[in-house]
Structure formats: structure tokens, C-alpha cells
């Protein structure tokens, strides 16, 4: 979930009045956002991933004003007129970074706090929702510095004067040397060329990396052009609506621009307002509370929706800046939030049948109780292991392809899912040297293999006993007691397993099939785990026994 940090003074100004910080935290919690830290300087809020419109002070303050009934909500609209700017889209962008939209903002005056918040908002939006600018990126330009109409195209490796650079640089050297070029290298496929926005004087922006020095904002800039590009037509369009709403909140006059694809053209921002008709009964029955019509309209307003009562239903008009409303369930959630999760009275779901556990549980409990009864304590270990612990320390061979293998683990000692439980138990015991003897541990849990390229998940039971008197006969007597308690008949045949001493290890044969092993652990294995006393062990695959 993205964290946003807002300037407390600016945020309070946007809300319109000063609110005590703890009251603010409580309000935000009710809306679904956790305040991680709040003081006089900064407020840090964890915003849920579905609300890109709240990633800055302007949007968050707007939502709060509605939620706290400090302001009646309203839906922005923009008159259609002659487009303030035209972008011609070249066919070359298709299959690379195909979509562009934008807005023009006039007569806007932003102080330092507002500018800082605005850029932090667009950066957060593009990094999180825009997937590090891959899916969505935004650039803000000084409209006055743009000459003529714009072209969005894929260019070869040309030169431009990038923002804050002193000299002309080729796009490829920007990608290698400029901080933004390095950071967002993953967004471009340089072999295919460079997406750029140009006017009659040259490159305005290398997209989605950096703008030109020529169109940078200055203290006297009052008119802006915002470019929005990406890989999703829907998002690129909706982002223009979202930005338009933010700039209008800030007092700017937003005009539409025209984007021409070949012979067709579209105007942005769309200022689309989706509508949903939901019956009151549906709202009440989903949430499980009585709401009533008047209250439903007021709750809708609290969440920023336009709402009216039409033909026995509530007509919800979704504000242009909401990118997350997919169907009516999303609106029902908002109404539940407005109603207040704390005020929803719990209602019991009746049971029609008694509960039941899986059959394996009872079997596993029997086995565990039997082992505890024989003095073994239960251990629970990670399923994750390394080839070194699972195979090498056990002096077992790691055959290619037999273990479920993990890619790119952050922890160096995670490589595979364990194929056996004994290495886990021996690792546990390696740190218990000072404890009283005998030391007995068991584990009953999962082990994993790959067979015919498919993962096999199975339950094993394994135990280790460390004691100066431990010998083969003891291990056999434990296995006999355990299996007889579980009602399983078995036969012991000479077994071979490199972890055990040859000639002191037996295979557990059930119905002619070997399902496990027991006996005296080999001194080399014990030494590998730092164990200095003799130990016996067993491990049995329980598949098919329960």
C-alpha cells in the first residue's frame, strides 16, 4: 500500500479548518486509511491501492471535507470549445507506448507548498498506480513555452536539452547518465526507439523519462500543459479527468485538448461521470442495516457521489476522479464506509450443520500424542530449506529436478522446499547442546518433491532421539509402538540411506512398499549438524495411511 506524506499546514489549509491531529487520525481510520505518524510538520497516511485520487493533499482534503460534511460535493464539468492544443499521434507508438492524453490549465497560481504537494502526488501516482511509469506517466510543462501543435511519435536517438542539464544530450546518453533515465530504464525498449513529444521547435519530453529544460515551470508560470501517457487507454483517459479535477480544486481553469489518431480524434479530459442505479433494498441487504432513502442520499454525498432518488432507486453519479469504481459492489462498500463500520450491528449467521475437521487431523493427533507419550517434544519448522541443509549435511545426493526449487529468494539460505523433515529436526537439536538428556524431538508436517514435472505435497512424521544410550533397537521400538498405536502393520527390512549407518538402518515396509526409514544416524551427519552425542531417528511418509 502506498504511503503519502503531507505537509500538515498545507493539508489543514486544504481541509479548510484546523483539526486536532488525533481527531483527524480517527476520521481517516473510519474512511479506511491508517495514519502512521502525525505531527505539526508532517502527516503520513497509508492509502489503499485502489484510490489514486487520494495520493496528495488536494484529493485527500477533498474526500475529508465531504466525509465530515464540511462541504457539499459537486461534480466538475468543462465546456466543450475549440481545443486549447492539438496532439497528433504517429502510428509508430502502436505496440510500444500507444496512448496519450492531456489537459491545459490556465490562470493558476501555485505557492511552494502547493507545487511540492502536486509533484509528490504525480510521482506517487506514476510510481504506484502507474507501475513505475510503465503503465502511466505524467509530465507538466509551461504552456507558454510550447510552439505550435504537438506530435507524439517514436524517434531515433536524437538530442535534446533535458531538464536541469547544461548541454544537449542524446536520448541514449540520457538513459545512461541522467538520474531519471537510470531509474526508469525499465520503461523503454531502446532498440525500438524513443517515445517523444515534439512541438515545432523540437523535443518537449522524452517519455516517460524527462521533460525539456525549455518547458520547465518558473515562478511566473500561470498556464500549464500536462501530458499523460501509458499502455492502458482507459487509465490514460481517466488520469486526465483526475488531474483536471485536482487543478480545478486548486483554482485553475481547465480546457480540453484534442488528440488525433490518424483520422479520428478524441478530446481530453473526458469528464466522464458513470451512473449506477441501485435499489435501497439492495444497499440495505448487502450491508445488513436499515438506511432509509434520505439517509442513503446523504451517505452518498459523504463519499463524494452525486445522488438522486429515481424510480424507487438511488441514482449514483460517480465523480470524474474515481478510477476504482468497477461495479455496484464498489459503491455499496462506499455507502458502508459512510454509514460507519463501527455502527454496523453484528447479525449471527445460523448454522445448518455441525462443524467437521478433515479426517487427517484425527490421525495426525493420534500419532502426535503417541510420540509425546514416548517423550518426544513437538517441533515446527520452516518448509523452506537449502540444498546444503536438506541434502549435503545429510550426506544425501541432490538429484536434479527432485526438489521444488525457488527462484530469487531474498534470504540466501532459501533454495528449495524441504524433501525431508530430519534435516529440520537435526538443525533444531544442534542448538540444544546444554539441555538435559535425552533430547527427543518429532515433527509431523509437510515435505515436497517433484514427480513427472508436477509438485507432490505429502505429510511425513519424523523424530530424532539424542542420548548416550540410543541405539538401533530403541529406534525400532519407537517405530513399532507408533505404528501399532496407529493400527498399521509393517515389516522391517535392511535399508540403505547415506544418512544412517550401513547395517544399522531399516526400511519400513507397508504392503510391500517402502514408506520410511529408521536406525542410527551416521556420525558424519551428526558432526555436520554439530551434534556430539549418538542419535537415532526415523522418518515415515504418511501418504495413504490416513
Amino acid at each position: 500500500m502506498p504511503n503519502v506524506s503531507l505537509d500538515t499546514k498545507y493539508f489543514m489549509k486544504r481541509i479548510g479548518s484546523s483539526i486536532a491531529l488525533d481527531k483527524l487520525s480517527e476520521q481517516l481510520y473510519k474512511m479506511g486509511f491508517e495514519v502512521e505518524n502525525a505531527d505539526e510538520k508532517e502527516i503520513k497516511i497509508e492509502v489503499t491501492a485502489n484510490r489514486p485520487d487520494l495520493l496528495g493533499a488536494v484529493g485527500m482534503a477533498r474526500a475529508l471535507r465531504y466525509f465530515m460534511h464540511k462541504e457539499e460535493n459537486y461534480l466538475h464539468s468543462i465546456k466543450d470549445g475549440a481545443p486549447a492544443l492539438t496532439i497528433a499521434v504517429d502510428g509508430s507508438v502502436k505496440g510500444y507506448r500507444p496512448f496519450i492524453s492531456g489537459i491545459v490549465v490556465k490562470d493558476i497560481k501555485l505557492n511552494d507548498a502547493a507545487i511540492a504537494d502536486l509533484f509528490s502526488f504525480t510521482d506517487k501516482l506514476c510510481d504506484t498506480f502507474g507501475r513505475q511509469r510503465k503503465k502511466l506517466a505524467i509530465g507538466v510543462h509551461n504552456l507558454g513555452a510550447i510552439k505550435g501543435d504537438l506530435v507524439y511519435t517514436i524517434a531515433k536517438d536524437e538530442k535534446m536539452l533535458a531538464l536541469r542539464e547544461k548541454s544537449l544530450m542524446s536520448y541514449s546518453s540520457i538513459m545512461q547518465k541522467n538520474e531519471k533515465g537510470i531509474k526508469y530504464a525499465g520503461t523503454l525498449d531502446e532498440r525500438k526507439g524513443y517515445p517523444v513529444l515534439k512541438d515545432s521547435e523540437g523535443t518537449l519530453a522524452l517519455i516517460p523519462i524527462i521533460n525539456s529544460e525549455r518547458t520547465k515551470l518558473t515562478d511566473s508560470t500561470r498556464n500549464l500543459f500536462v501530458d499523460i501517457t501509458g499502455t492502458s487507454e482507459y487509465l490514460v483517459g481517466k488520469a486526465a479527468d483526475l488531474l483536471a479535477s485536482i487543478f480545478m480544486e486548486l483554482g485553475g481553469k481547465v480546457s480540453k485538448i484534442s488528440v488525433r489518431y490518424g483520422t479520428t480524434s478524441r478530446k481530453f479530459p473526458l469528464m466522464e461521470h458513470q451512473e449506477f442505479m441501485i435499489s435501497l433494498a439492495k444497499l440495505e441487504s448487502e450491508i445488513g442495516v436499515e438506511i432509509g432513502f434520505n439517509n442513503a442520499l446523504s451517505l452518498a454525498n459523504k463519499m463524494g457521489y452525486g445522488a438522486a432518488f429515481v424510480n424507487n432507486k438511488v441514482r449514483f453519479t460517480v465523480p470524474e476522479y474515481r478510477l476504482d469504481i468497477i461495479n455496484e459492489q464498489d459503491i455499496i462498500e462506499d455507502i458502508a464506509i459512510a454509514y460507519g463500520y463501527d455502527y454496523i450491528n453484528p447479525v449471527t449467521v445460523p448454522s445448518v450443520s455441525p462443524g467437521r475437521l478433515e479426517a487427517k487431523d484425527a490421525f495426525f493427533e493420534k500419532a502426535s500424542v503417541a510420540l509425546v507419550g514416548m517423550g518426544f517434544s513437538e517441533s515446527m519448522n520452516s518448509y523452506l530449506s537449502s540444498s546444503s541443509v536438506n541434502f549435503t549435511k545429510m550426506t544425501r545426493k541432490h538429484n536434479a529436478g527432485e526438489a521444488v526449487t525457488i527462484k530469487d529468494a531474498k534470504s540466501a539460505n532459501i533454495e528449495i522446499l524441504r524433501t525431508s523433515l530430519l534435516p529440520s529436526l537435526l538443525s533444531d537439536l544442534s542448538s540444544s547442546k546444554h539441555e538435559k538428556m535425552p533430547q527427543r524431538l518429532f515433527e509431523l508436517d509437510m515435505a515436497f518433491y517433484v514427480k513427472r514435472k508436477q509438485p507432490v505435497e505429502s505429510y511425513h512424521v519424523a523424530a530424532v532421539s539424542i542420548d548416550s544410550g540410543s541405539n538401533f533397537n530403541y529406534s525400532k521400538s519407537v517405530v513399532c509402538s507408533l505404528l501399532s498405536a496407529l493400527g498399521i502393520k509393517f515389516e522391517a527390512k535392511a535399508g540403505s540411506d547415506p544418512s544412517f549407518i550401513n547395517g544399522r538402518c531399516a526400511a519400513v515396509i507397508v504392503d510391500g512398499k517402502s514408506i520410511g526409514i529408521f536406525g542410527e544416524l551416521h556420525p558424519e551427519v551428526l558432526r555436520n549438524f554439530g551434534i556430539e552425542e549418538p542419535a537415532v531417528a526415523f522418518e515415515i511418509d504418511l501418504t495413504g495411511l490416513y
Binding site: E286, I337, E365, G373, G375, M380, F448
Partner: protein, 491 residues
């Protein structure tokens, strides 16, 4: 005089001052027996026992590792003496090292770069606490000496969880008194001490007295085999569910991404799917999906709702499940298929189901983070189920485990409305997040919402134990399995 007492007194008469183990070997008695005899002899002023404070020192897994190699700050200092590092590139262990280096003034961070300070450069040899740790690993008894010399390092090692220290009174020396030297060693014969088979068979206790024992004698605790505390919680949780009418189900751990993400409406470009958060598997690298109508439906809802292309190969990539919801969604799918295939199939509703299982996250493992841990999922499939029903179920569940619950609106791709669950911790006097819940989206259930609703939740298990057991400090402690730790757990 009891025969233990006569044995111990005779031994002491020969050698006036002895150690406990010497007494044990010369009398052939066990530790508890010698201690018992000594207790009695000292009451008779025949012997004097000099006790001192002793310590039992254990190194944790991490402590051992560092003792063998070096402390993270020592490793970091070594690296820094060769070159500066970028703060952002530091590994988890290096970060720990950095904290201590900063504290000791051996390293500095400036605009994202970590470099060694002149003080750090002058530092030759080992950092004090590192040397102490290594010494302790070789000889835990050195603690008593070290505490006099370097209390600070020991405290630091303990607070970092590298060592644990228990005070244990220790017998320093045992001496016979003048009175003891002159006392007569005589075994009582007319009272019965140890009861033997013969005494019972021959009824020879009749007419005699049983020797009275000192019931306040100190004894060592009997080592006890136990279930794992985490298993006890899991079993308790299963009991709570089944008491509430829930039936247990389970799902696989090694899964195609489809059942972990796509079927739960998590878009294919969602960051949670990347190797940064989720374990991807290279063997088997992918798991084939049968291209049935359900896969087609998932593809359609993704394409329409997320407005981007849905790739079949992406859904087949093998991952380790990051939650137990795959068991729920697989069940829902089977249930829906049955109702579609067989018109007569009409199970009694609501169906209440739960699962408990291991889940995986690609984490750097430390005292707060594990790469695999337990989660429990629950679903209720029924008609006209509401958010009020969901809240009630979770309140009842946690009430049985002894916790108060609060809900916060939250976003998860597969539920709407969604709620995060917080339980109140008496231990920390605060609300602690324990899981997520909500009403499953129609895109997930593919059940017409007019007819059926699915309530769903996923909760952490280890948290419950941490909040309850005051003796457990970190989540990694649960998987330590030190036999001493297991033996000392309260049930």
C-alpha cells in the same frame, strides 16, 4: 540418619571440603539425593553450604552464527574499510550492522552513502561485544567473570537476543563443621526409608515408623515432552471453527499463479505478484491450466475490468501460495461447477468452511519477519449474507479466543466491501491488525450475486500466540524449537 545422609557425612569426614560433583561421584548418589542429604545435614549444623549466584547462558541461533563469524557491525566495518556502500543496497544483516556502527560512531551515512569514520578506521581488532560473544560460545561459564568486567557488552548481547541468561544459584563449596566431624555416623534401622518389594510382600512395615521426609526440599523439574505452542493454537483455532459449525478444507501450497492471484481478481501487473514479494518456483516452472470455462471467465473479467491484456502463461507460472484463500476459491469453483452441472444439487445453505495452512512471502528473515508462517481462511456461502453477518462471525471467532475486535474499511482486490480486522492487545494496550475480510466480488465467485453471497476472511495465527504469551518476544522465536524453550513453555 538416612543412608544418603550417612553416605554424604562419611565422605565429608574423609575430605572436609568438597564440590557437589565430587560428592556425587564419591557417594554414588544422584544430584537430588546429595542435595537432599546436604540440606538435612546443614540443618543439623553438621555441614555448611556456601552458595553463590550462578548463571546459565545460552546462545540463540543468531548468536551462534555471529560467534562463529563476526557481528554484523564487524562484517560491515570490514567491508567499509575497503569501500563505501549505498545505503539502499544494504542487506538486512548489513542494516543491523549499520545501526550499531552508527551508535558507536564507527560509520556515517551522508546523502545515501555509508562510509567509515576516522574512528572506525582506527578501530583495530574486534568490537568488544563481538569478542565477548565468541568467548561465551566457547565457555558459557565465563559469564560470571565477564559480568564483573564488561557488563555493558553482555547487556547489549542479551537485548539483541543473541544470548539468554538465567540466574541459577550455584553451590560454591561444601564444608563439614566441627560438630559434623565429631558426629556419629549411624544409620537408623528402626524406621523405614526406601520402600522395597520385600517390605510390601512381608508386611514388615507393621510396627515400624516411616522416616519423615523434608517436603520443602528443592528438586529439579522433570523434563517434559510437549506439543508445540503453535500447534496448540492451531488446534484451538480449529476447535473454535468447528464449534461455530465450520467444516475444514485445505488447498495446495505449490500452485499456478492462477489460483493464488488471477482467480482472486489480482491484476497480472500487480506488484504483489512479483518475485519481490512472492516466491516464484523454477522447478516446476509452470503448471498447466486446463482451459475450461472458468479460466475463460476469469480471463474475460480481467480483460474487461482491468482494461489490459490477460496472459495465459502468466497464470501458469508456479508460485508458493501467499495466502490460504486458494483453498477457498478452489472450493467455491467446485461448488459452482456442481450446481451448474447438476440441477438437483441443492446443498443446505449457508455452507461454512475454513482452512489453516502455511503461507509464503519472499522476506529477509529477521526477528520480525519469517518467509513462511500460518494463516487461516474462512468462507460462508449463502443467501442474503451481509457485512453485518461477516462482522458477527469474526467477533464471535475472536471472542472465543479472548479478543475484542474492530473493523477498518480496507481494499483487497477480491472483496468489496472489504475490512481489515484489528484485535485489542492487553499486552501493548493497542489495536493490532490481524487480517483482512470482506464480501467476495462477483468476479471471483462467478455466482450470480442475486442468489448467493460469499463472505471471506484471512487471518494470521502466530499473532494470536504472540499477543497471548507474554514470554514470547518475536515471531521467529516460534520456530526456534530449542528443546529448552519447548520444555519451559506454559501450556
Amino acid at each position: 540418619m538416612h543412608r544418603y545422609e550417612t553416605a554424604v557425612l562419611s565422605a565429608l569426614k574423609k575430605r572436609h571440603a568438597m564440590q557437589l560433583d565430587e560428592l556425587m561421584s564419591s557417594t554414588g548418589l544422584g544430584r537430588d539425593e546429595v542435595l537432599w542429604a546436604l540440606e538435612n545435614l546443614s540443618k543439623l549444623s553438621y555441614a555448611s553450604i556456601d552458595k553463590e549466584t550462578g548463571y546459565e547462558v545460552l546462545l540463540s541461533k543468531e548468536g551462534k552464527k555471529y560467534a562463529e563469524r563476526a557481528l554484523p557491525e564487524e562484517e560491515l566495518l570490514k567491508t567499509l574499510s575497503l569501500k563505501d556502500l549505498k545505503a539502499a543496497d544494504l542487506s538486512g544483516e548489513q542494516r543491523i550492522g549499520l545501526q550499531w556502527c552508527l551508535k558507536l560512531g564507527l560509520a556515517a551515512v551522508k546523502s545515501g552513502r555509508v562510509s567509515i569514520t576516522p574512528k572506525g578506521r582506527d578501530y583495530k581488532g574486534r568490537i568488544k561485544s563481538g569478542a565477548v560473544l565468541t568467548e561465551l560460545s566457547g565457555n558459557p561459564d565465563a559469564y560470571a567473570e565477564l559480568i564483573k568486567k564488561d557488563k555493558e557488552s553482555l547487556k547489549q548481547l542479551e537485548s539483541r537476543g543473541l544470548i539468554s541468561v538465567k540466574e541459577k544459584p550455584r553451590i560454591k563449596s561444601i564444608e563439614i563443621t566441627a560438630k559434623g566431624i565429631h558426629a556419629e555416623v549411624r544409620e537408623e534401622t528402626d524406621t523405614i526409608d526406601l520402600i522395597t518389594r520385600d517390605i510390601i510382600a512381608n508386611q514388615s512395615w507393621k510396627g515400624k515408623e516411616f522416616k519423615k521426609y523434608d517436603v520443602s526440599v528443592d528438586v529439579e523439574q522433570e523434563p517434559m515432552a510437549t506439543r508445540h505452542p503453535l500447534r496448540n493454537i492451531i488446534n484451538e483455532v480449529k476447535g473454535v471453527y468447528s464449534g461455530m459449525g465450520f467444516t475444514e478444507i485445505s488447498g495446495p501450497i505449490v500452485e499456478p499463479s492462477f489460483w493464488v492471484f488471477d482467480s482472486l481478481f489480482v491484476p497480472q501487473d500487480h506488484p504483489a505478484r512479483e518475485a519481490q514479494d512472492t516466491f516464484h518456483v523454477s522447478n516446476p516452472e509452470s503448471m498447466p491450466l486446463v482451459g475450461d470455462e472458468y479460466v475463460a471467465a476469469v480471463k474475460k473479467s480481467h480483460t474487461e475490468s482491468w482494461k489490459s491484456e490477460w496472459k495465459h502463461d502468466e497464470a501458469e507460472k508456479t508460485v508458493l501460495s501467499t495466502h490460504t484463500t486458494n483453498a477457498s476459491v478452489r472450493y467455491i469453483r467446485d461448488f459452482v461447477k456442481k450446481t451448474l452441472d447438476d440441477e438437483k444439487y441443492e446443498p443446505e445453505l449457508p455452507l461454512k468452511l475454513f482452512s489453516v495452512g502455511r503461507v509464503f512471502r519472499n522476506e529477509n528473515i529477521d526477528f520480525k519477519h519469517l518467509a513462511d508462517f500460518y494463516q487461516t481462511d474462512g468462507i460462508i456461502i449463502g443467501r442474503n449474507l451481509t457485512l453485518a453477518n461477516l462482522f458477527d462471525t469474526l467477533i464471535a471467532f475472536y471472542d472465543r479466543l479472548g479478543f475484542k475486535v474492530r473493523f477498518k474499511p480496507a481494499y483487497f482486490p477480491f472483496v468489496e466491501p472489504g475490512a481489515e480486522i484489528f484485535i485489542y492487545s492487553e499486552k501493548s494496550k493497542s489495536w493490532i491488525e490481524v487480517g483482512g475480510s470482506g464480501i467476495m466480488r462477483a468476479e471471483v465467485t462467478t455466482v450470480s450475486r442475486q442468489k448467493l453471497t460469499v463472505l471471506a476472511w484471512g487471518l494470521g495465527i502466530e499473532r494470536i500466540l504472540l499477543l497471548r504469551d507474554a514470554g514470547i518476544s518475536g515471531i521467529n522465536e516460534l520456530y526456534n524449537n530449542g528443546i529448552g524453550w519447548l520444555r519451559s513453555r506454559k501450556m
